[in-house]
C-alpha cells in the first residue's frame, strides 16, 4: 500500500506492506536513533513524535502514519544536544541505548507540562526503561534542564 509520511520535515511516499511497523519503516529511512528493546511495548526505546505527541513506534503501524508528521531524534538535533548536554553532565547516558527514546519523551514532556513536579516527571517518563543508570542521573538531568529553561525563558 502507498503511504505518504512526513519524516523530520521531509515528505516520503512509499509502497509498504500493511504489517510494517513504524519503527522498522523509520529505520529503513535511515532514522537509526529509533531503537527496539522489546516486543511487548514495555521499554520506550522506540519513542518518536507523531504530530508532536510521543508514541511507541514499535506498536504503531506505518500505515497509520499515512498523512501525518513523524519526528525522530534526527529531526530534533538542536534540542537533543541541548538537553543531552545536561544528561551527559550527569553521566546519565551510560550505554546510551535508551537515550534517544528517553530524550524524545523528555522533549515531549517539556512541551506538554509547564512546571512538572518530581512525581509528574517520573510518571511521564515511567515507560522509558533504562537498565544502566538506576534513573537517578536522568532525573537530575531533567531537573537541571528544567531549571535552565526557567532561567533563559521564564
Amino acid at each position: 500500500m502507498l503511504i505518504t509520511v512526513t519524516i523530520n520535515g521531509k515528505k516520503y511516499s512509499d509502497d509498504i506492506t500493511p504489517d510494517l511497523v513504524l519503527l522498522d519503516y523509520l529505520r529503513q529511512k535511515g532514522c537509526y536513533s529509533v531503537k527496539r528493546g522489546c516486543e511487548t511495548s514495555n521499554c520506550g526505546l522506540c519513542t518518536v513524535h507523531l504530530d508532536g505527541k510521543p508514541i511507541l513506534s514499535c506498536s504503531y503501524l506505518a500505515a497509520r502514519a499515512d498523512g501525518h508528521a513523524v519526528t525522530t531524534l534526527e529531526g530534533l538535533q538542536e534540542e537533543a544536544a541541548e538537553f543531552g548536554a545536561f544528561l551527559a553532565d550527569q553521566g546519565g547516558e551510560q550505554c546510551g541505548f535508551c537515550s534517544p527514546g528517553f530524550i524524545m519523551n523528555v522533549l515531549a514532556m517539556v512541551r506538554e507540562l509547564k512546571n512538572p513536579t518530581e512525581a509528574e516527571i517520573q510518571e511521564y517518563l515511567s515507560g522509558n526503561l533504562c537498565r544502566c543508570t538506576g534513573y537517578q542521573s536522568q532525573l537530575r538531568a531533567v531537573k537541571n534542564y528544567l531549571a535552565h529553561k526557567q532561567e533563559v525563558q521564564p
Binding site: S33, N42, L73, L87, D89, Q94, C95, R131, C132
Partner: protein, 759 residues
C-alpha cells in the same frame, strides 16, 4: 592531576545523546542476509530427522544449516583466558538438544519475512526425553545432560559429565568443625537465589562479512573481542589469523556479552555463503537463550561468641550451570572468596561447591559473578547472628569487618592494602541516620518503616590472569592516539583511560584521540569483565605514558642538542631548566614524522598478581504495608571504597545503576520455567525490571582508600555495587517483621504469608 577524580563528560556522550548510528545494529550492510534460528521447543530431545526441503524453496532463502553442516568439535562460549576453566561441551548445532530454545537450524534469507517463513516450514522429528530441571537433584541423576564421549575439560575443575558435574571445588582455612563446636552461638540456614536476566537494553547482535583480504570480519556487541576471536576459531575450526572482531558502541552488557552468544551464527553463514550476514536477537531470545546469572543454593553456618566476635564460617554452594558449562566453574569461586573475606578475624573457614548440569538455559556472567549470591547468603546469616545475639547488625560488622593491613586467607592469601570499610560504615550510618531509624517505626498509616544493612566486596581483575595493554602514539601537531583493547560497554572506560593518559602526559583531554576495539589493530586485552578495566588496563596506561614521556624527552633533548639528562618534559615542551632552551611538543611531533627521525609511540601491558577488593556498605530503608506485604525501598544509601575515584560522575552512576539492579534481584527478578522446561516470563511484560517508579531515593558517597598497586590509587567499581541490596533489604524486612527471608526474590505475598504465620 586535573582530569582524574573529576566529573568528566564521556568522550562519546554527545554522539549517544543525539542518537548517532554507532551501535552494531546501525551498521549492518544493506545487502546482509538476515539470520534466524529455529529453536527447540523441548528441554531435552534428540533430533531424529530434519527436513529443510520445503523451507529451502521459499523465495529469498539462501541457506539453511543443521547439525550435519557444522564442525564436530566441542567448544565453550565463555569469554575467558585460554585455557578456559569451562568445559568444552557444546557444538554450534547439536543433534542432542539440551534446553528449551537450543538452536536446531540456522536460516539465512534475503529478508526477515522469508527467514520467518522458512522457519515455519522446516520439519523436525524429535525424540523427546524427560528433562532434568531441578538442580538440587542433578548430581548422579539418571538423566545425563552431557552423555557425549567428546566432552572435555582443559583445566582440572573436577568436571565429570557422567555425573552431571560441571565442576567441584573446596578450600579450608583452619578446622571449621572444631571452631564451630566451640562457638557460643551458631546460625545455620540455607539460602536460595534465582537466575536473573541481565536485560541490557541492546539485545545480543552481530553481523559478519568477508573483507577485502578474504578474512572473516565479525562486528559484534561483545565485551570480549579477543576471546570472541578465539571462540569463533574453535567453533568454526578456522585459524584465528582468518578472523577479525570489531566492537562498536555497546548497549549494555553486565556480563551477558562476556559469552559468545550471537556471534557464531552469522559467522558460519558468511563462511558458507560468502555473503554478509546479520543476527539480532529478539528480547525473547535474549531472555530464553542468553547467559543469565546462575541459580544457586547455599548452606551457611556462622559461629560466634556471645560478645559478637565471629570465629568461623562454613559455606557450601550448589550452582545450576544449566545446559552448558560456560561461566559455571569460575562463577562459583567468587561465592566463597568474595563473601568470607569480608570478615577479617576468622579462625576457620570453609568453602565447598558443586556446579551441576541441568536442562535449563546455560548460565553465564552477570555483574557480581557469584559474589552477589555468596554475599547475600553470608551477609544474611551474619545479620541473623546479630539478631540472635540481640546486637545491632552494624555493630556486629564493625567488630568483625576486614581491615587494611590484614592478610586475607580466604582471598588467595592476598594482602588488604587498601580498605575503608570502617569509614564506609560510619558514613552510611550517618547518611541513613541509622541510630535513630534502627530497627523500625510505625507510621500513622500503619506502614512499617525499617532499615537494613549489608557489606560487600568484589575484586579488581583476575589476579595473575587478566592482561591489559594499550598503545599511545605521538602524532604531528603533538596530539596523541590512545589505542585500547578493553571494551567500553557504556561504562566509560574509553573516557576514564583517556583521563588517566591526559594526566600522565600533562595534556588536555582533547589531545587524546581514543579508539576502541578492533582485534586487527588494538593491543591485546582480556576484555572488560571481572571489574578489571580501570585497575588493570589503567595501570597499562600509566606505564605506557611513562615510557612515552621518556621517549619524548630524549627526542626533544636530541633536537635541542643537549645532554639527555639535562632535559625535562612538562607536557607542552622539552626544556632545560634555568636556560632558554626549549622545544615544543608540537615541533617534536612534526619532526617525528620526518624521514630522518623516529615515530614516537609506546605500548605496555599490565597484569596484577593481586586483585584488590573494593568495598561498600549499603543500607536500605523500606516502607512495608503489613496489610498486603507490599514493600517499597524508599531510600538507599551506599558508601563506597573503590580507591581513588577516576570519574566521579561515572562512578556514581555505576553505583546507582548497580543498586537498582540489585533491588530488582531482591524483590522481583526471577527466571521461571514451566514443568516442561520452557522459560515462562520471557518478556518485559512478565520479567519485570525496575522502572523509575519502582525506585526511591538513592544516595551515594565515596570513602576512598588509596590502592598502592592501582592507577592513581584506584580499584574497581562496576560489579561491587550490585551486591548489597539483596542482603540489606532482607535485613530491613527482618527488622520490620521479625521474619527471616532466605529465598530470592521476596515478593509481597511471601512477606504477607510470613507475617501471618508469625502471628
Amino acid at each position: 592531576m586535573s582530569f582524574v577524580n573529576a566529573p568528566i563528560r564521556k568522550k562519546d556522550a554527545m554522539s549517544l545523546v543525539t542518537g548517532k548510528p554507532v551501535y552494531t545494529g546501525d551498521m549492518i550492510p544493506q545487502n546482509a542476509l538476515v539470520v534466524k534460528l529455529l529453536r527447540s521447543p523441548h528441554a531435552n530431545a534428540d533430533i531424529e530427522s530434519i527436513n529443510t526441503a520445503a523451507a529451502m524453496k521459499v523465495p529469498g532463502v539462501c541457506c539453511i544449516l543443521t547439525w550435519e553442516d557444522v564442525p564436530d568439535a566441542r567448544f565453550t562460549t565463555a569469554g575467558q583466558t585460554y585455557p578456559e576453566p569451562s568445559p568444552y561441551d557444546r557444538l554450534i548445532l547439536d543433534r542432542h538438544l539440551r534446553c528449551s530454545g537450543d538452536p536446531v537450524a540456522i536460516v539465512a534469507a534475503e529478508n526477515e519475512a522469508a527467514a520467518d517463513k522458512a522457519l515455519r516450514l522446516i520439519k523436525v522429528q524429535y525424540h523427546v526425553m524427560e528433562p532434568l530441571l531441578d538442580f538440587t537433584k542433578a548430581l548422579d541423576n539418571p538423566i545425563l545432560v552431557h552423555p557425549e564421549e567428546n566432552f572435555h575439560a582443559l583445566c582440572p575443575v573436577g568436571a565429570d559429565n557422567k555425573r552431571n558435574l560441571c565442576s567441584t571445588d573446596c578450600f579450608t582455612v583452619g578446622d571449621v568443625e572444631q571452631v564451630l563446636d566451640s562457638c557460643d552461638v551458631v546460625v545455620e540456614r540455607t539460602f536460595n537465589t534465582k537466575a536473573n536476566s541481565q536485560a541490557m537494553m541492546e539485545t545480543f547482535r552481530t553481523f559478519s562479512y568477508i573483507d577485502e583480504y578474504g578474512r572473516l570480519t565479525v562486528v559484534s556487541s561483545t565485551q570480549v573481542p579477543f576471546h570472541a576471536r578465539r571462540i569463533l576459531s574453535n567453533a568454526l575450526q578456522i585459524p584465528k589469523s582468518k578472523i577479525r572482531v570489531v566492537k562498536p558502541r555497546i548497549g549494555g552488557g553486565f556480563g551477558a556479552k562476556q559469552s559468545v552468544v550471537s556471534e557464531i551464527f552469522p559467522a558460519i553463514v558468511t563462511l558458507k555463503t560468502g555473503r554478509a550476514a546479520s543476527i539480532i536477537y529478539t528480547r525473547e531470545e535474549s531472555m530464553t537463550n542468553g547467559s543469565p546469572r546462575h541459580q544457586m543454593q547455599m548452606k551457611v553456618r556462622v559461629g560466634a561468641n556471645r560478645d559478637g566476635v565471629i570465629r568461623a564460617i562454613d559455606l557450601y554452594a550448589l550452582s545450576n550451570a544449566g545446559a552448558y558449562g560456560d561461566h559455571g566453574p569460575t562463577t562459583i569461586g567468587l561465592v566463597g572468596h568474595k563473601s568470607l573475606s569480608l570478615y577479617g578475624g576468622l579462625e576457620a573457614a570453609r568453602f565447598a561447591c558443586d556446579v551441576v548440569y541441568t536442562n535449563t538455559m546455560g548460565g553465564g556472567a552477570y555483574r557480581g559473578y557469584g559474589a552477589t549470591q555468596g554475599i547475600f547468603a553470608v551477609e544474611s546469616a551474619v545479620s541473623e547472628m546479630a539478631a540472635k545475639l540481640n546486637m545491632d547488625p552494624c555493630v556486629i560488622r564493625e567488630k568483625n569487618m576486614v581491615a587494611q593491613g590484614q592478610t586475607m586467607p580466604t582471598y588467595y592469601n592476598e594482602p588488604c592494602n587498601s580498605c575503608t570499610l570502617d569509614k564506609c560504615m560510619a558514613k552510611a550510618k550517618e547518611m541513613m541516620d541509622w541510630d535513630n531509624k534502627y530497627p523500625r517505626r510505625v507510621l500513622e498509616n500503619g506502614h512499617i518503616r525499617s532499615v537494613g544493612v549489608a557489606m560487600a566486596m568484589q575484586g579488581s581483575g583476575i589476579s595473575g590472569v587478566d592482561i591489559g595493554s594499550v598503545e599511545i602514539r605521538l602524532n604531528d601537531e603533538g596530539f596523541y592516539t590512545l589505542l585500547l583493547g578493553c571494551t567500553d560497554m557504556g561504562t566509560g572506560c574509553d573516557t576514564i583511560l583517556s583521563q588517566m593518559a591526559a594526566d600522565c602526559l600533562d595534556c588536555d583531554l582533547d589531545r587524546i584521540a581514543v579508539r576502541g576495539v578492533d582485534t586487527d589493530f588494538s593491543p591485546y586485552d582480556t576484555g572488560s569483565y571481572a571489574s578489571s578495566t580501570t585497575y588493570v588496563t589503567g595501570m597499562a596506561v600509566v606505564k605506557t605514558c611513562q615510557v612515552l614521556r621518556e621517549k619524548i624527552r630524549k627526542a626533544g633533548a636530541s633536537m635541542l642538542q643537549v645532554p639527555e639528562e639535562s632535559a625535562e618534559f612538562d607536557g607542552k615542551r622539552v626544556f632545560v631548566p634555568g636556560t632558554e632552551k626549549e622545544i615544543s611538543l608540537e615541533k617534536i611531533g612534526y619532526a617525528s614524522y620526518e624521514g630522518h627521525n623516529r615515530c614516537l609511540s609506546a605500548s605496555e601491558s599490565h597484569s596484577s598478581p593481586i586483585s584488590p577488593p573494593p568495598f561498600m556498605v549499603g543500607m536500605a530503608e523500606i516502607d512495608l504495608d503489613p496489610e498486603t506485604g507490599k514493600v517499597e525501598v524508599v531510600d538507599y544509601v551506599g558508601a563506597v571504597d573503590c580507591g581513588t575515584v577516576i570519574n566521579t560522575n561515572l562512578a556514581r552512576v555505576q553505583t546507582e545503576g548497580g543498586i537498582v539492579q540489585g533491588i530488582g534481584m531482591a524483590l522481583y527478578e526471577d527466571v521461571q520455567y514451566s514443568h516442561s522446561g520452557k522459560m515462562e516470563n520471557r518478556s518485559f511484560l512478565q520479567y519485570k525490571i525496575p522502572s523509575r517508579l519502582d525506585v526511591g531515593k538513592i544516595r551515594i558517597e565515596f570513602e576512598s582508600s588509596y590502592e598502592p598497586t592501582g592507577p592513581f590509587g584506584a580499584k574497581s567499581i562496576g560489579e561491587l555495587v550490585i551486591n548489597t541490596p539483596a542482603p540489606a533489604i532482607m535485613n530491613a524486612l527482618y527488622n520490620a517483621t521479625g521474619c527471616f527471608f532466605d529465598s530470592l526474590p521476596v515478593r509481597s505475598e511471601d512477606i504477607f504469608f510470613a507475617m501471618e504465620e508469625k502471628k
